[in-house]
Amino acid sequence: MGYVAVKGGTEAIEASLDRLKYDRLKGEEIVEIKTILATMRPLVDQVMSEASLYAPFLAALAIKQAGGSMEEAVFLLRAHRSTLPRYYYSETVDTEDMFVERRISASFKDIPGGQLLGSTNDYTHRLLDFNLVNEKKEENQAWLQEFQERMCDDVADKELQFFPKVVDYLREEGLFERYPLDDTPPKDITKQSIQFPTGRSERLQVLTRGQTGAVTSLGYASLRGYGQVHPTIGEVRVGNVPIHVQHPYEEESDPDDLFYIGDVKLTEVESFVPVNVKKQNQKEELEFEIGYGISFGQNETKAIAMSILDQCLENPHGEFPTHDEEFVLLHIDSVESTGFISHLKLPHYVTFQSKLDSARQVKKGGNNK
């Protein structure tokens, strides 16, 4: 059999691109970037998190261009990121500096500083709100005004609060192990492909940019018995953290001479996982370990699932796929998984013909017997 190179798709591809544009425009409606930014922030956050690029405007543009397709929007933003030079590395971000908008614990009701519900869908009825079908700007403005008036009282002269970590109190009680600061320079998976076994920094970087659905599913699988981690949430916090960078040319490193470059919004989760530890006297004692999850923007489900997977991967176990770092880390990236699945629809004429040839040969051989 001879292989034949084919051509002739150029015009069809151009017509297909026109068709794609037609499908986006035929409704004769334009969704503005500012509308996406103002009304679909969780979607923007999810695209930024999976693309591993904090750029709300570009994420909203990607959503518009992709017509709302998550995988396409993430692909667009990841591709754009690859065209940009990296100028700086930030100083180490500490989430104790977070301006907290939401902070809850499932482990204790009385956490120092209190539980702040902030903005969440958790307590909504999940009934479709048909009032939104004919939403009116005037009514919204009236609600906003009334809301702001309600908020104006008892504000004066209050100190800004920065909230301590729940786990720090448990560490003081000796219930959790204290770790010294580990300043080992992190590896960067965008500069070097991961090699197994991975380091902790590589695992956390892959998990935090993982596809929300994939990370959530594998975290859920672990809870259901395909893993050995079932945590209690110690703390979920959502808010803005300040980002600082050093001057690129100044040698002195006075912390007061850093550049503040802005804030990024994050969701951070610490999960408490009970483990039995064998002590020197051979007796088992119950201790706790922490699973860590974090995500750009507000994406609590993903951050909680990440904290489960973090703990799974810290404790490899051959019996459970969610404790297998190769299984987890190589299958949760949005661009890699959707790219590989979608490549299956591209022409495979030669390889498939080869398989057909093999099948024909086998059948022919069988008939000859």
């Binding site: 998190s49 690029l53 904090y54 709300p56 405007f57 570009l58 990121r81 940009l84 030079p85 990296r86 100028y87 700086y88 590395y89 930030s90 180490t92 971000v93 500490d94 989430t95 301006f99 907290v100 939401r102 009701k109 209190g114 702040l116 519900l117 903005s119 908020m151 104006c152 008892d154 800004l160 609060q161 970590k165 770790y179 600061l181 992190p186 965008t190 902790r200 920094s201 590589e202 970087q205 935090t208 940019r209 980002i243 960078v245 001057h247 912390p255 007061d256 001479d257 850093l258 550049f259 503040y260 470059i261 802005g262 990024v264 994050l266 951070e268 860590y292 974090i294 750009f296 973090d310």
Partner: protein
């Protein structure tokens, strides 16, 4: 005022004060754009709280600008697509590096802006604190 505090005020102020201060410089001194405002990335380094180790969270889009004022080079960096603000920050940075006398007069303006920003944050936090839960233990 040191750079960290200064840049925090100028960025959180939203750019109005940065524009005013930068224009004071460009009206009185020669100013050259070394690099026009352009986009790039900053990789965010985090410390996780489980084992206190470091890792990279992901990148943030930044706008950077470089200018020269009075033989001093200034840099402006800000998260987002903020060409004007990056340029103004660079001019102000150069003015401080050149120790221009105007910078002495800016302290008061920066402090007034800082107080305004602080009050906005107080208000914002007071609003968030309205969602604080007051648990009451129920008798069963």
């Amino acid at each position: 005022m040191k750079r960290k505090q200064r840049t925090e005020i100028l960025i959180q102020d939203g750019g109005v004060l940065a524009k005013e201060l930068a224009e004071m410089v460009t009206q009185s001194y020669k100013f050259r754009e070394i690099e026009e405002p352009h986009y790039g990335l900053t990789m965010i380094k985090m410390r996780e709280t489980a084992k206190k180790s470091l890792f990279y969270l992901g990148e943030a889009l930044v706008t950077e600008a470089k200018v020269e004022v009075h033989q001093s080079i200034g840099i402006g960096i800000v998260i987002g697509m903020e060409e004007e603000l990056a340029k103004h920050l660079a001019i102000i940075d150069a003015a401080y590096r050149a120790e221009l006398p105007e910078t002495m007069e800016w302290e008061e303006k920066l402090e007034v802006a800082a107080e305004k920003i602080f009050q906005q944050k107080e208000r914002q936090q007071a609003e968030i604190l309205k969602t604080k839960v007051n648990f009451e233990t129920m008798e069963v």
